[in-house]
């Protein structure tokens, strides 16, 4: 079931390979195996599987990853569109 994929090409994940120090943290924390270590550096191998949780960005000590992490629920998006703060879950 790891094959469940949501929409293609909407993901805000960006990765700067030049900054990577190859610690492997992004590989560890990503629940969808978006990153893999190859020849001493991380590579984005399954970008469309990213759910924008932000774990890789938060745990990358080199600041090589950016992603617009947020709460992906309908109420959250409505709140965001209406410009109010509100919880998701």
């Amino acid at each position: 079931m790891s094959e469940l994929t949501y929409l293609e090409d909407v993901v805000s994940l960006a990765y700067d390979r030049n900054r990577c120090i190859g610690c492997g943290m992004c590989v560890t924390v990503c629940p969808h195996q978006v990153f893999a270590l190859q020849r001493g550096r991380a590579d984005m191998v399954a970008r469309n599987h990213c759910m924008e949780c932000g774990a890789c960005m938060r745990n990358c000590p080199a600041g090589a990853i950016t992603v617009e992490a947020g709460e992906g629920c309908v109420r959250g998006v409505i709140n965001e569109l209406l410009g109010i703060e509100g919880p998701c879950c």
Binding site: S2, L4, L7, V10, S12, R58, E71, G72, C88
Partner: protein, 376 residues
């Protein structure tokens, strides 16, 4: 003091000395909680002791919480707990103060001796709290200090659930507390094997999949949330239907109101039960689209079966009912993106911007047709 994570995800303004250091007061959780079995004497005082086994009360609470009852008050006091009889060498596991998170963790570890450090996540589970940042770097640093953890254990390792990683930065924890964060498996049930492996995850342990069993558990909450909106809507529609032309109130409710109530329920059934359960097998990527498909199936099933009850129902009214079912199914199917573990906020936003105008139009046309059929 609150510090917002900067765009790069690092706590830019965090000086090496802890912000607000000294404000954090030492505190152990109260032993006076129903699931605490006793206390364990440690260098910092009496730590509440829990067992792995869950009792009837724990199970009942979980069951109610799954039905969205008492979920907000289903909490554990934050702080340090002992599972079994841990000593200074025992591992420290970090959890959230949602009681179900805590229960899932301890019940996965029968016969083990270890420490559980419960963070104050305001009664919210690890994954959601990590997304909000309450299961986060500052809270963990505070909780380490408030529990005087460095006096309880001689090692400097914390096992944090991998799904908590969006909330905290392992390197920041290390820098400010000296504790090294080891990310544990996604599922608590893998913890015994993970611990026996010397804290190494086997490949499957790092992947969050979304199997049927997990989707099934989410269904009751979805149903309850939908009914909170759905039942008042049904009552209003029933009340309105009674006013239909050419019929006595009670008869009109029977002829026009009941089918409409069924149409709403069919939509809720499709969106909150069928879509989650059949998720991988329903064609399409958009949840709102999946909802339309399951809505069609539910509608055809229910009204195909009961059609003979309303022989005089015209085409306009049938179309109205269909549109209402499809809209509601589509909406609640889309709402289920919030509960999945693979939809991205960017994707949900894109889907909503496309789907909501269509859903709104379908609902307005559907109700318009219905009112026209009833009152003209």
């Amino acid at each position: 003091m609150t510090i917002s994570p900067s765009a790069s995800g690092q706590l830019r303004f965090l000086p090496v000395a802890r912000p607000g250091a000294g404000e954090v007061t030492f505190r152990l959780p109260s032993p006076d909680q129903p699931f605490v079995r006793g206390t364990l004497t440690t260098p910092v005082g009496k730590v509440p002791q829990v067992r792995a086994g869950l009792n009837l009360r724990d199970r009942l609470g979980s069951w109610l919480a799954r039905w969205n009852i008492g979920r907000m008050h289903f909490t554990v006091e934050p702080g340090l707990y002992a599972l079994g009889r841990p000593d200074e060498h025992s591992p420290v596991l970090v959890s959230a103060n949602y009681k179900m998170s805590f229960d899932v963790l301890r019940s996965a570890l029968p016969g083990r001796d270890l420490w559980i450090l419960v963070l104050d996540t305001k009664g919210i589970n690890v994954w959601c709290a990590a997304g909000k940042g309450t299961f986060g770097t500052l809270e963990l640093l505070d909780r380490i200090q408030a529990s005087r953890l460095e006096e309880v254990v001689s090692h400097r390792r914390l096992i944090v659930p991998q799904l908590g990683a969006p909330g905290l930065a392992a390197h920041e924890i290390r820098r400010h507390s000296g504790f090294r964060v080891i990310y544990g498996p996604v599922m608590a049930s893998d913890l015994p094997r993970f611990l026996d492996n010397g804290c190494r995850a086997e490949p499957g342990m790092r992947v969050k999949d979304f199997p049927l069993s997990e989707r099934l558990v989410l269904v009751p909450v979805e149903v309850m949330q939908a009914l909170r909106v759905g039942l008042p809507l049904i009552l209003v529609l029933l009340a309105v239907s009674g006013l239909a032309r050419n019929l006595a109130y009670g008869r009109a409710v029977e002829v026009h109101g009941l089918p409409m109530a069924l149409a709403v329920l069919a939509g809720i059934l499709a969106g909150t039960v069928m879509t989650p359960l059949l998720l991988p097998w329903i064609p399409g990527r958009f949840f709102s689209g999946k909802g339309v498909l399951t809505g069609l199936v539910c509608f055809a099933g229910i009204f195909g079966f009961l059609r003979h009850r309303w022989p005089e129902q015209g085409l306009m009214e049938s179309m109205a009912l269909l549109l209402v079912t499809l809209t509601i199914a589509s909406w609640f199917a889309m709402a289920f993106t919030g509960a999945t573990t693979y939809t991205s906020p960017g994707g949900v936003r894109r889907e909503m911007l496309r789907a909501i105008p269509l859903q709104a139009a379908a609902l307005i046309i559907g109700l318009g047709l219905w009112l026209t059929a009833l009152f003209s």
